[in-house]
Subunit: 380 residues, 2 copies
Amino acid sequence: MKIKISRDALNEAIQDVSKAISNRTTIQILNGIKFEAGAEGVMLTASDAEISIQSFIPAEKDGNTVVAVEQPGSVVFPAKFFAEIVRKLPTEEIDIEIKQNFIAWIRSGMAEIQIVGVDPEEYPLLPQIEKNRAISIASDLLKTMIRQTSFAVAVTETSPILTGVLWTLDGDRLKLTACDRLRMASREAGIHNEHQERFHDIVIPGKSLNELAKLLPDQNSLVDIYVADNQVMFKIDTVSFYTRILDGTYPDMSKLIPQSFQTELTVNTKKLTDAIDRAYSLSREEKTNIVKLSLQDDRTIEISSSSSELGKVTEHLDVHQRSGENITVSFNSRYMLDALKAIDSDFVRIGFRGATQPIFIKPEDHSNMVHIIMPYRTAG
Amino acid sequence: MKIKISRDALNEAIQDVSKAISNRTTIQILNGIKFEAGAEGVMLTASDAEISIQSFIPAEKDGNTVVAVEQPGSVVFPAKFFAEIVRKLPTEEIDIEIKQNFIAWIRSGMAEIQIVGVDPEEYPLLPQIEKNRAISIASDLLKTMIRQTSFAVAVTETSPILTGVLWTLDGDRLKLTACDRLRMASREAGIHNEHQERFHDIVIPGKSLNELAKLLPDQNSLVDIYVADNQVMFKIDTVSFYTRILDGTYPDMSKLIPQSFQTELTVNTKKLTDAIDRAYSLSREEKTNIVKLSLQDDRTIEISSSSSELGKVTEHLDVHQRSGENITVSFNSRYMLDALKAIDSDFVRIGFRGATQPIFIKPEDHSNMVHIIMPYRTAG
C-alpha cells in the first residue's frame, strides 16, 4: 500500500469510527482500526462486537484530491496510538506506505512514524446487509426521537429485552418505545417509506442508539436505515453504523394507555420542571428521589419533598387547566424530570387514575409522545 | 437572622468558597458553609482543614443594595444542598430567615425551602493573621508563576516538604521553586514590596496553590499576601484564601545551576514541543515515557522514541544556534513537555553537561525561569 491522504479528512474519519472502540474488549484485534485503501478512496472500520462503524474517505471531494492511491492495500492500525499520532501530525498532506510485515511508514513534514500494524485478514467481517431494504428519516428527527426515549431503557440485565428500544413501523409512522418496570417513554413520527417497508418488534440496544446519536448531524440530512435478520445498519452520508438487534419478545404496551383519567391537569412545562428540580435536589440527598405532587384546589398544585436531616422544599405552581378530582401522588422525581426534559412543548398535560396508578405525561399540543411513571405507594 | 440577598451575588460567593469543600473530610462540620450576616454584609466561610476560603458579599455594590440585613445572625448550611438550591432559585431577590434551632427559611417566588442548619459556634475559627504584613502581586502574574512551577512538586509523600512550592522573597524579587528528585521548575519576578517585607523558605502545598490559581482572575488586579508563622493568606478583592505552610527544610537548589555547559542549543519552542509530543504519544503507550534527543551535526537534532510492539517515531528539527560537542540523551518526555509548556518564549535554550547530567531548559530571551530534568541513564 502507498497513498497520499489529507490529515484532516483522515482525522475526521478516525473520530467517527473511534466511537466503536471499547476500552474493555477482550478481543485483541478489536483494539485496532481497519484501514483499506482502494481506487475509490479509503475505508476505516472499527467495532466492539456490539456495534461497528465504517467511515469512507472518497478519493475526491468538491473537485479536490483527498486521497491519492498509488498502490492499494490494507492493514489494521492500533486505534489509540494511530488516532493520537494522526491528530498531532505537522502537515495537512501525509504519506502512508506499507513496506513489509504490515509495518506502515507515515511521513508528514520532518516527522516520520513507523507503526506496527496487523494483518487485515485477522479482522472480523461485518455482517452482510441487503442494500435495497431502506427506510429514510431526517437525521435531526432521529436524534431527537432517541433522546426522547432511550433514557427510559432498563439498565440492569434482569430482562435483557428491556435494555433495548422497540422500533415499530406501520406504513409511514415510526414509533420508538422504551420502558423498564417503573417508567415508559414513547415517541412516534412520520418518515419516508417509499418502498412500503414494514417491520415489527425490532429492539435495538439503548447503548447502541446513544452511540449512534453522537454521530447524527443536527442538520436536516437523511439517514437511511437497513434492517436484516439480526442487524440494523444506519447510513449517514459516508458513515455506516451497524448494531445488533436484541432477541426476545417486547411486552405489549398498547393497552396501557387509557382513554379517560380520574384527574387531568395542564401546567407550564418549564415552571413544573424547575419546581420538581428543586425538590429533586433535596430528595436526591436522601437517596429516595421521592417528591409529592398534590392538587388541592382549582388553581394550584403543591410540589414538595422533605428530609428529616436536610429540611423541606415546598413549591406552588399555577395550573393552566384542570378537570376531575383532587389527588396526591408521590413519584421518583428523577424519572419525572427525565420525562419533562424530553418534552419540547410549552405546556404539558398530566393524567392520573388514582394515587397508586400510573401517571401519564404528554405534550399539550400533540399526541406523538407519551411518558408513563409508576407512583410510589406511600401514605398521603 | 433575617435578610434579603441577591441570588446571583450569593451564588458567586458560594462558588468561590465551595472550592475549599472536600468530599473526603471526616470532620462533619466541614461539610458545611458558615454563613454570617452583619450590618456590612454577608461573610461565607468554607474549609477542608488544609485550605480555607472566605468570600464577603458587601451590603452595597455600585450603589445597589446586594444584601439588606433586617436582623443579623449566623448559621452553618450543608454545603452541597445549599449551593445547589441557591443556583436553582427562581427569583433574583431571595429572603433568608432563621426562626429557631438553626432552621433557615428561604423564600424565592413560589418556592419555599427549609434548610436544617448547624450552630455556627461549632465551626472552627480561622487562623488570626496580622493584617499589616502585606506584599502585593498582580493576579495574572501570580497565576502564571503557579502554572509554571507547581506541576513539578513531588506527588508522593516520601519527602513531604517536596510536595510544596518554595517561595523566596529578596527585596522586590519573588521566586517560586518546585522540585521532586527528577526535575525542578523555578520562576522569579518583580513585585510590589512597599514595606520591605522579607521572608525565606516559605513552602506552600502545591495542591493549595492549584486551588488558589482557580480563584485568581486573569485581569491585572492586585493580590495581597499576608504571611504568619504557619499560615499564609491571599486576599483577592472580597475573597480571602488561607493555606498552611509546610514544616521542614527545603533543599538548597542554588548551587545546581552551572555557569557553563558542554553543549548548548537554541530551538523553536513550539516545533520542539510538537516533535516531543508525537514521540511522547508512542513512549506513553510503552509506559516508559523515554524519548531520545540526539545532536549529531551543526544544524539538526533528532528526537526519537521506539517500541517493539507499536513502532517508532523519528523527528528532525532545525537548530537555531548551537555550541559545544555532539550529544545524545534520553529523558522522561512528560517532564520535558511540562517544562516546555511552561515557557512562553518563542525560542528555548537547552544546556547539557553530559549524557548522565541534568538537562537545563530556559527561555531564550530572559533568565527569570529555569527548568531542570534528570536524564535516563540508558545506553546510547
